[in-house]
Amino acid sequence: MSIWQKIKDFWKNFDQFNRQNYVEMQQQELAELETIFALLTIGNFIGLPNPPSHVALEIISALDKEFDILVNSVEKSLDSTGYLLGIFDID
């Protein structure tokens, strides 16, 4: 294998690794944004202030995913330190 090919392979792996890292970070951020949205809209189930009735009632029929997100968040909250370490790949 020529040096040039080795550099190309290294660059390809490096690029793939960074892309994967970036995607993971973006996915984590998206998941957190979705959790915040779920907390703001249906957080009244756990005692948070709820949006005004008109806003809450208008979107309630489309919030099925947000219910799932909140249920999953409960599992995460049982081991929040582990979850945080997982985000940063710390074993």
Partner: protein
Amino acid sequence: MFKTIFFLGKGGVGKTTTSALSSYFLSQFRPVELYSLDQAHNLGDVFNLKLSDRPQQVRKNLMAAEVDLNFWQKKYINNLKSSVKKSYAYLTAYNLMSYLDLFEYAPDIEELALILAVNQIWSSAADNFIIFDMPPTALSIQFFKSVHRNLIWLDKLISLRKKIKQKREILSQIQLGKKTIETDKILNKLLDLQQFYTNFNQNLQKSKLFIIQNPDKLSHLEAQRIIESLKQLNLTNFSLITNKAQNCQSPQCLKNFSDLDFDRIISENQDFFNWLRQSLES
């Protein structure tokens, strides 16, 4: 010129009689629609007529109605229930839909009914004067505040939802190599609602608010509190009216009257009604 007028004030200061007299006076110049939004209606008593939810002719150029807020509340809740039923159709198999009746007791549902009723009146109004005889202070202020509060919530939720949508698009671009544009049902619903409240707020900003007080300390203090609340909501097109004032020289005073002879009261209070008409010129 202001074409929508709200009469506000402490219970018993004379909002209904002042709004009825003003409507009677203004109907000389342009058709007037007068609506009572107070659930303890007595607008019909002032005109000596049995009024209902549908506008009824009181005299030439003057229509009046006593708005049934329960009707608006029920109408909204029924629409909502059918929309939820579509999404959770499987619940009908367990006969669980009756639990949705609790929507009727959602917090601030009364303000929502007021907003829907006022919006319907605005959307069906021609180039008439629209006059609202408002409920006592607490509900009236909640009505104005809820428009402001809903807009703040909608603004924040929409900006968060847009960020979520943007993140999803970035991820699809990286993972699939092309940006997939998803239809976000929640974002669309929020944007529709924001449009509704933005239009509603614009109509409020274009309205004239008359705050009624009596020449006594309690109603005066309450009127001042209403003014403070309106200022906080950027509703600055208001004027103060003193009703049941006998020895007042200001044109903003309506003198005491013993019976409801509309023509006589108007002729005896010419300064007041001229001032009222002038204050509607923008």
